[in-house]
């Protein structure tokens, strides 16, 4: 079985978010980049399939050379090989188009994307990629089992979950639940050493245009200080919520 895990290089969850060039670009200075958490849940499940049923795991990212450290980390976690499409994408559609080109060159039985990246929060790459490839897509995937080419999956829905079945090939949008936080693999020294020897191929991008462009960024207005209410004065809190905030 051939598994492709699509990886996004994102600022760490505790990063300070600032912009430069008159608020048209993200300030990367001093920011630690990580594997997008949703993608890492997917990668961890892929490595589990690799160990259980001998699947081959390829990771891919669309980005410039600055993404290579996280690809090496994916290899240290257990992926067999890495691809980097050499393009700084402008939107999720452009990423999906490049990934679709990769998937047309080599056939993958299972394609894993993250539910969304934690930087642009577009949440579109998986669904777009599946549609471009005419494959089924399961968003917000919280469970997946495979028996030969039959897959049973669960999707998190508002207020519950949905169980689905499908035949491979399939695209999923991974999130927490697919594996637990405690199942995430912290690379050991052997994994890190091996990762240096594993192939990381740089692929030239296909000619394609983005569907949208970010014009400018903006940070939310500074919030005023909290209004503290005495723990004995619950009526005071209710009054504020009812008459000042008008939310009751």
């Amino acid at each position: 079985m051939n598994i492709l895990v699509c990886i996004s290089n994102v600022p760490g969850t505790t990063s300070k978010i600032n912009f430069k060039e008159e608020n048209t670009a993200f300030e990367t200075q001093g920011v630690q980049f990580i594997i997008n958490p949703n993608d890492e849940f997917g990668l961890t499940r892929a490595v589990w399939f690799q160990q259980k049923i001998g699947a081959k795991v390829t990771v891919v990212t669309v980005g410039d050379a600055s993404c290579e450290p996280i690809l090496r980390k994916c290899l240290a976690i257990g992926a067999d090989q890495a691809l980097r499409v050499d393009l700084q994408p402008q939107d999720g559609f452009e990423v999906a188009t490049q990934l679709a080109a990769i998937c047309k060159k080599e056939s993958y039985d299972l394609i894993i994307t993250g539910r969304e990246s934690i930087d642009y929060n577009g949440g579109m790459v998986g669904g777009m990629l599946a549609t471009l490839l005419e494959m089924p897509y399961v968003a917000n995937c919280i469970q997946m089992d495979i028996a030969s080419d039959e897959v049973s999956v669960q999707r998190e829905i508002d207020g519950g979950k949905e169980s689905l079945s499908a035949i491979l090939p399939l695209v999923i949008g991974a999130q927490k639940g697919l594996v637990e936080e405690k199942d995430l693999i912290i690379p050991n020294m052997r994994g890190i050493m091996q990762a240096r020897q594993k192939p990381l191929e740089v692929v030239p991008p296909e000619a394609a245009a983005p569907a949208s462009k970010v014009q400018a960024f903006e940070k939310p207005a500074e919030k005023g200080p909290v209004k503290l209410v005495d723990a004995e004065d619950i009526d005071g809190l209710i009054d504020l919520l009812e008459n000042e905030a008008k939310v009751l």
């Binding site: 969850t13 505790t14 978010i17 912009f19 949703n38 939107d91 999720g92 559609f93 934690i118 930087d119 642009y120 929060n121 577009g122 949440g123 579109m124 998986g126 669904g127 777009m128 599946a130 549609t131 471009l132 089924p136 897509y137 968003a139 917000n140 049973s152 998190e156 829905i157 508002d158 207020g159 519950g160 979950k161 949905e162 689905l164 079945s165 499908a166 927490k176 639940g177 936080e181 405690k182 245009a209 569907a211 949208s212 970010v214 014009q215 400018a216 960024f217 903006e218 940070k219 909290v226 503290l228 209410v229 723990a231 619950i234 809190l237 209710i238 504020l240 919520l241 905030a245 939310v247």
Partner: protein, 317 residues
């Protein structure tokens, strides 16, 4: 020319998020002087939709199929969009809305923009404000395509009624060759989901254990609120994943968010930042949540919250 909106429903009744999408769609249609076309599946309550200024409703009969089917629903939406030559389509930011949006966008050769807050700043080419970096920032995104699918952030526009005269049409329910099939759905039916909720009551580690969650649930019941939890609480298995809110969990954009015993890690605050009014109840005055909240009580949740619940209950009666 038209604006097409997808109205989600539950047992034939339009959901609040669906009506918010209709309200927003009406404003888009008015701004461009075009009609507002809604697409729904097995809707039984046309009056409710009429009250939101929909000009034309394609009410598609799924012939007994009860579950959301992304492939067939997206195909139906794409067909209506093409038929009505719509340049704008709006879906909600519910789990289903975010699922179907990108798929319809590719099918109709449209750009897709999620987490939209506010009306477009321009229409040709379309440009809207979106949240990004999990609510830590906004951006203005401009389409390079003629057609755009927007996913509207919940509670960002609100409900705006406008009486109209809706023309109700039936529509085709396309078949799908796709192998994906919904086998079953497990849903907590007596509770409001986080996506639909006006008010969310959230608990953190300060509640000391899952056996104390009745404090959260009682308050949520009185307020008709959804319950949520912090990441450590879901990691420890006190509550299910579906309640975890924050950067790697669900985003919350409620009108009122009440955090009880939640310290307010940066990832949690990012996830709930789009909520309009935030209240924190925590015994630790140094908890970071106090910096992000509008109202706060420094106090023991086990004492404060039951009193709040009782007083709200008395007030409702």
């Amino acid at each position: 020319m038209a604006v097409v909106v997808y109205i989600e429903s539950e047992n034939g009744t339009p959901k609040k998020t669906g009506l918010e999408v209709a309200s927003y769609g009406r404003a888009l249609a008015d701004a461009q002087g075009v009609s507002l076309v809604a697409v729904g599946f097995n809707l039984m309550d046309h009056e409710r939709i009429n009250a939101f200024g929909v000009d034309k409703l394609y009410n598609i009969d799924t012939q007994g199929a009860v579950h959301f089917d992304v492939e067939r629903y997206s195909e139906a939406l794409a067909q209506v969009t093409t038929k009505e030559s719509a340049s704008l389509m709006v879906v909600s930011s519910s789990a289903d809305g975010r699922y179907i949006g990108p798929i319809v966008a590719v099918k109709t050769n449209a750009a897709y923009m999620s987490n939209v807050v506010g009306l477009p700043s321009q229409y040709a080419p379309l440009q809207v404000k979106r949240t990004c970096f999990t609510n830590k920032a906004f951006n203005e995104t401009q389409s390079t395509k003629e057609r755009v699918v927007l996913s509207l952030s919940s509670n960002s526009y609100g409900l705006h009624e406008k009486q109209g005269t809706v023309e109700v049409l039936s529509g085709d329910y396309p078949i799908s060759s796709n192998s994906l099939k919904v086998e079953s759905v497990e849903k907590v039916t007596d509770k409001v989901s986080i996506a639909d909720a006006d008010i969310v009551v959230s608990g953190g580690r300060g509640l000391k254990g899952p056996e104390n969650w009745h404090i959260i649930e009682d308050l949520a019941d009185v307020l008709g609120a959804a319950t949520a939890c912090s990441k450590p609480v879901s990691d420890m298995g006190w509550r299910s994943h579906s309640e975890h809110v924050g950067q790697t969990g669900k985003p919350v954009a409620s009108n009122l968010y009440i955090a009880i015993g939640v310290s307010g890690a940066i990832q949690h605050l990012a996830g709930i930042n789009a909520s309009k009014v935030k209240v924190v109840i925590n015994s630790d005055p140094e908890a970071p949540f106090f910096k992000a909240a509008d109202y706060g009580i420094v106090g023991d949740a086990f004492e404060v919250v039951p009193v709040l619940t009782e007083k709200l209950k008395a007030r409702m009666q």
